[in-house]
Assembly symmetry: C2
Homo-oligomer: 379 residues x 2
């Protein structure tokens, strides 16, 4: 036998999470998650999942039957959309203005499809003009894929307009709403989004590990008409929906994989709190806290990466002032104030910080702590 | 705006979970999981992951550097092994003696490889003789894949012998240890297993949603020498290990996906409890509780599906007596005793029950409750 590792119970500190996610988790969500585990086919659990589905539909503002939480993080939600909908050889227009657009491109290539990339500068939103040019130049494209809220830069793109363009050119849309869901306006049905995924750990303030996903009837039709099998067994939505029971909530649920029972308790609770607050109130709260933070950051002389008109309230990317040591500042905030802010990612690594105001984290005491701590550390 | 769903907080009952998993979760694990969320790149979290890796290595009895928990359930652990190691066109010998062998076959086909199936009857273990015949008949096979402990039937296969045969014929092994890990003898290094996956929700008595996985150096070499990209971005272990830090625990961790922070707290605690008990003690406890259960079930006149010499202690499949209503019995156990036992799966649906004695669930009070409740319901 190998030697037994001697390990103490892990006791995490209480941090204030103001990075790009995970965000501060609602205390009620942590408590919900620690309720006793029950079976994933228990009738009471199945009834909870029906409620959860309705709550996800509300958050996305959709009536899509195929709406559920993928049993894995947002990256798996992204992959769910691409592997189910895109077939080898098909053409996808992918908008890239940060890390996650590039990840979409990699997903397209891994399904054996062809990505046509529309590039915008990091920190800018996706240009509808460039997208329309690409749609015209590629009449055989089947999909338009873009990130609603780029977590790597804090730029918001105009999802409504991009979806209109896609429809005009007979493309289905695949939309990344990992950072946008619950933090800014998002209307899946009104805007005509065909496939959308998000994450539990951003503006929903749930624990990380789940990815809400929704497919429109047109996306479901595309999935049903596939001529090749979905390359992933785990993410194959035609199998998963046998368990989630799309379109026939009274029907018998069949086993696909063991659902992450306690994590789903947590998501149920976080979405219930969002519904209780009301989506529009949550959007407004993110905006209000952003304005407070912005005013304070301006006083500190910090500059935003993203122009005001496409700036996300829930993710504030700021240039690191010249002469300031990136790692040292973040380390002091973490060690002395138990405050986490995010480093830059990709092109912005070492050049920017990312301050999140997401979900439960978007509240006045967090803004106050962040401004005061930054002031002390930068002085 | 769509109408706001009105939903109460979900309050699950306290069940005794004696199905095929999820099993009863240790109270300490539920408590660990509800500790405050911290960042997935927080130095304290990264240190916890180093401990977690050592704990997974201990449970698997391996020194493999590439050892981690996939951020998704056991089915994704299975897919992780196939998509990373098997390339399109390669031949895999797949042993099928239940649901999960068949699922392996489907995974092989979805990566575009060729499955040669070795069939054994449901309820029997994998026959080394048939496997050797297949290895001889298919000298171009690159892998032997089998299920150590078939959750659908309760049959244990001789992993040590099967791995010896695979080595003799230059095949790498891919082993499903979802139900075996922590419940019966399993020695990854001694037996020469090349790729193995398990689940958090069986004999580890952690919450469902994670899959411990380990690759031998030979498996890592196979992955490194791939000529085609791994078809899954989310499960690509060459990317994931940049975050888990294989082989260079001091190295900077790079972001891949947001780790399921709280679920990993839970896994850390459950594996810590396993190490505290000692693996061999845990194996013995499962055997002892199985003997108690077996004696009681025999008195009730119930018959096991699996012969004694290949019977799993932690998963007891029993034929439903003639004239007894399957669903009604399980419903009465659930409603009147808060006791969950498992239905039959696949070929055994409607014909068998599956009684789990897994991890924290393998204790005397559970055996007593199960025997008494069954006696009352069947009388």
């Amino acid at each position: 036998m190998l030697p037994v590792p001697t390990t103490n119970a892990f006791v995490p500190p209480r941090r204030t999470l103001m990075g790009p996610g995970p965000s501060d988790v609602y205390p009620q969500v942590l408590s919900a998650q620690s309720k006793p585990t029950i079976g994933h086919l228990d009738p009471l659990f199945v009834a909870m999942m029906d409620e959860l589905k309705a709550l996800i539909q509300y958050a996305f503002q959709t009536k899509n039957e195929m709406t559920l939480a993928v049993s894995a993080p947002g990256s798996a939600g992204m992959e769910t959309c691409f592997v189910n909908l895109v077939e080898p050889g098909e053409k996808v227009i992918v908008c890239r203005n940060g890390v996650f657009g590039e990840r979409m491109r990699q997903n397209v290539e891994r399904v054996g499809a062809k990505a046509v990339v529309v590039d915008n500068k990091w920190g800018e939103s996706v240009s509808p003009e460039l997208v329309e040019q690409a749609l015209i130049a590629n009449p055989d494209a089947k999909f338009l894929a873009f990130v609603h809220a780029e977590t790597s830069t804090g730029a918001l793109s105009d999802a409504k307009t991009l979806c209109q363009l896609a429809r005009k050119h007979d493309c289905l849309t695949i939309v990344d709403a990992v950072t946008s869901l619950g933090g800014v306006e998002l209307r899946v049905d009104d805007w005509g989004i065909d496939a959308i995924y998000s994450g539990s750990q951003k503006c929903l303030s749930c624990v990380p590990g789940l990815s809400p996903v929704s497919f429109s009837p047109k996306a479901v039709e595309k999935l049903s008409n596939r001529t090749t099998p979905v390359q992933s067994w785990f993410l194959d939505q035609s199998l998963v929906m046998g368990y989630w029971g799309a379109g026939n909530s009274g029907a018998k649920r069949s086993y696909h994989h063991t659902a992450p029972v306690n994590a789903l308790y947590a998501l149920h609770e976080s979405l219930r709190l969002l519904a209780e607050e009301g989506l529009e109130n949550a959007w407004q709260r993110h905006q209000d806290m952003h304005q407070l933070l912005k005013a304070g950051l301006n006083k500190l002389g910090l500059e935003f990466v993203v122009d005001e008109d496409s700036r996300l309230p829930q993710l504030n990317a700021l240039y690191i002032p010249q002469g300031v040591d990136d790692a040292e500042v973040r380390q002091r905030l973490l060690n002395d104030y138990n405050l986490e802010i995010g480093a830059g990612l990709g092109d912005l690594a070492g050049k920017a910080w990312r301050i999140g105001l997401m979900g439960y984290g978007a509240r006045r005491e967090n803004v106050a702590l962040c401004l005061r701590a930054l002031e002390e550390v930068l002085s």
